[in-house]
Symmetry: C2
Subunit: 210 residues, 2 copies
């Protein structure tokens, strides 16, 4: 194996082990052992577990699944469903990070700094997307207009937490589970939609267990 691949292999294995067992239970030595490399080799690339988590967060941050200004080019509910699905896949792939979000951002100052910096940027893009939905008439402007920012905040909170809130005992993120999550997000926007969502984004209409 070429040395330049080692950091990537370490991060991928770390995500796998953290997802399965939680951050606390996994030591750097355990990651090295599982990859059949020496602890020294791993320490050469990442000095501490915090360094590993920070490097993983940089991957989350730069993942194309994050909301971006490009999303504003498609101000439709179908696209919004796709954005939610994309982001939910990201949360699922790195679920240890979102599951332990508050603790990790509390414990690792650099993760905290970058997480909130990224969130500010992404929420600005998300707010632009909703402003576009209003511009093109898919959504009515709420009264007072500041409600848009509150709806963005709520949808962010739901997007980061719904998988754990549901405590779904699923082995994978299937479309039924995503439908359930999207129902929660759509409940936020439902009152402001110009047309009923059934004809736009949801493939079916069913009550969701809470």
């Amino acid at each position: 194996m070429a040395t330049r691949d080692t950091p990537q292999r370490i991060l991928e294995r770390a995500v796998e082990l953290f997802n399965a067992h939680g951050v606390k239970a996994i030591s750097l030595n355990r990651i090295a052992e599982s990859l059949d490399i020496s602890p020294g080799n791993l320490h050469y690339h990442f000095r501490t577990k915090d360094d590993v988590i920070l490097a993983i967060f940089e991957r989350i941050r730069s993942d194309p699944s994050q909301v971006s200004e490009g999303d504003c080019l498609s101000p439709t509910l179908t696209h919004m469903r796709w954005m939610f699905e994309r982001y939910s896949s990201l949360v699922w792939r790195y679920r240890f990070f979102f599951r332990e979000l508050s603790a990790l951002t509390e414990e690792i100052p650099l993760v905290r700094h970058r997480y909130f910096e990224n969130r500010r940027e992404r929420m600005a893009a998300l707010q632009q997307f909703f402003e576009k939905l209003i511009d093109v008439g898919v959504m009515r402007r709420p009264e007072p207009p500041a409600t848009v920012a509150l709806l963005v905040a709520l949808s962010w909170m739901v997007s980061d937490h719904w998988i754990f809130y549901l405590d779904a005992d699923h082995a994978r993120l299937d479309s039924e589970l995503i439908d359930t999550g999207f129902d929660l997000v759509m409940t936020l926007f439902q009152p402001y939609l110009a047309v009923p969502p059934a004809s736009n984004a949801r493939t079916r209409s069913r009550p969701t267990s809470a």
Copy 2:
């Protein structure tokens, strides 16, 4: 000090230390040391850290700040504000538990079981409260009616997470911070209110930073 007070003192000190440093950083020995009791004395009452956390959760579970059927006797927005304030104080007092909620319920099977059991019961009471708000005409029934369950789920998620979402660098939970959290919850119900909330529950009307 009488022996029968020791478990209570241990739990109170554990909450203090967990809130300040996180669960991971605090060992049973550290709690014993901080109370100036022997590790053997502490182990006599709590064999493991999981036992301590379970005992703390039992306190959270039986705390009168939790939503109860008694709340249905006062179906007003003012009372809803008070319920939110009550519950937020509970989250603040035991903030380590809510901050690490997903990890703790993942890692400790008995905490997981009791947390979800409690949540089911409390959410049923919360749903009853909203049904009462609809009965007395404070709230309009959403269409489809299943939306009530989704709103209850969303308000639960917001109530458990908003303090950490805001990442407020506050030393205490002051009324300004609670106003900000309540604005988020009220955004969920705003479209269904029969009268504007300003005259009912909020002491002022201001945009909230997201």
